[in-house]
Amino acid sequence: MQFTSFSFLLFAAVLLTVYYIIPGKWQWPLLLIASCFFYISAGTEYLVFIALTTLSTYATTILMDNRLKQRDVYMAAHKAEMSREEKKAYKAKIKSGNKVWMVACLVLNFGILALCKACLIDPVRTAVSGGTLSFLTVGLPLGISFYMFQSMGYVVDVYRETAKTERNPFKLALFVSFFPQLIQGPISKFNQLTPTLYAPHKFDGKAVSFGLQRMLWGYFKKLVVADRIAVAIGSLKGEEYTGIAFLVLTVFYAIQIYGDFTGGIDVTIGLAEAMGIKLPENFIRPYFSKNIAEYWRRWHISLGVWMKDCIFYPISVSEPMRKLSKASRAKFPNFGKRVPVYVASVATWFCTGIWHGFSANFIVWGMLNCFVIVVSEELMPVYAKFHDRFHLKEKKWYGGFEILRMFMLMNLIRACDLFPNVGDYFRRLGSIVTTFNFHILWDGTLMNIGLTALDYAIIFGGCLTWFVMDLLQEKGPIRERLYAKPAALRYSLIFILLVVVLLMGSYGIGYDASNFIYNQF
């Protein structure tokens, strides 16, 4: 059931109505039933995957929690007779036992995820299943990269004792499968999501209205802008489009992926908000970033937080890294102390790359990001001197230049997504400095890539509206300011947006809009 389908809108409308009619204590079970229905509607063959993740997550966390409770009871009972060393040793014993369970659960689940992703590659699929296991040959199970990371993040948090253990298996099943975020996240933390997910909610007109407004805004970005520009991206990937045409492709793709991903997230967060459930923000207007580190703090935030908490930090403070750091500091004092940062960065970006897919271009994409981040970090003192020398930070135009520079740089790196053959990507990248075909901007080439003058006008108008909205949002929440305005003005604006989505949205045959890009990950 696509977010952009009529069946989904009907499903959401029925759910919202029933949600606020039934008693509050039945709301979370209703959401679990709705999530199961949503998942089954995508295909029953994948139920086994999400069931396995839910069961293994539940069993592991309960096991670890029981051991932690036993530890507390034992230590309280033997507090007086245990020496400090004995207490320390006992705690370490429990912790290392829990670590075994945690690692087993992570290996099982990430093993399944890796198998599913590998089976998207033809020779691997044939080798694994011989073409007979249908559930491995149809495609990636719905939302597996998202619910798997969310569940495993919870397992790690229980191990670290930073999340309360959920002992009700049905409540845990809802945390794993909560349908609005199944498709493309955000990857929520247990402590963030569950207080509002399990709580009863009374009908709140403002929250429902805000949620629906956000959904509508998401549909605007997805249907009016992202889906309309998609056809041009397909064309511009053709071999004949090099040099300036490649630069145009990178800008078009920046618009498409931002509209597609944030549009989907707006629908997700908006629908949850309408039900009184608070999901974490996944984007904070990333194209306004001035450097790559800031960009990654504002783009796909929930995946970045997961990678930082579960890969970057554990690797950088691990015992082998401690030893490596000490050894390298002895030889190179300045460089040595940064060694853990570099090693952990490479590992984190490698994992981020393969999270997107088992394909060379995603690994290269990850390594390019890592390279730029590390080089930027190392050159920071040089930049600081340069800025001071020319008083650049005091000049307003320089901020705009930094934003534009970041936008172009990220566009070039991101385009790697589009070319499974890495050689193709680097050839296009190189063509920027060898092919000066500026004439394609006015000789009619851009009118032959699937977009008409009307399409360009709608995309331009859509992007301009979106840019202004993002600028306004930077200054404070738009919906709150709109709420303070007279109702007639408020509803007129919402009505205009609705009409724009209905009239200018890009709908394919049977009004079935394009799939969300992040569905494939």
Binding site: R160, T162, A293, R297, Y313, V317, R322, V341
Partner: protein, 75 residues
Amino acid sequence: MEALLNILSELHPEVDFETCTTLIDDKILDSFDIVTLVAEIDAEYDVAIPAEELVPENFNSAQALYALIEKLLDE
């Protein structure tokens, strides 16, 4: 505490670490700074800060960080 303040000042000389209590919330320290800090603290105090302690509450101020070091040394 003196040694910790020196380590922090070396990372960000422009920040007043004696008074600032929003080092993470205001994005003064990023994840690279935190890992570099952990290595510096390890070298100075010979204490390993585990991954589960790398949370904003422990790094928002020099005082909180010092309290963490003392807690880990005490364990």
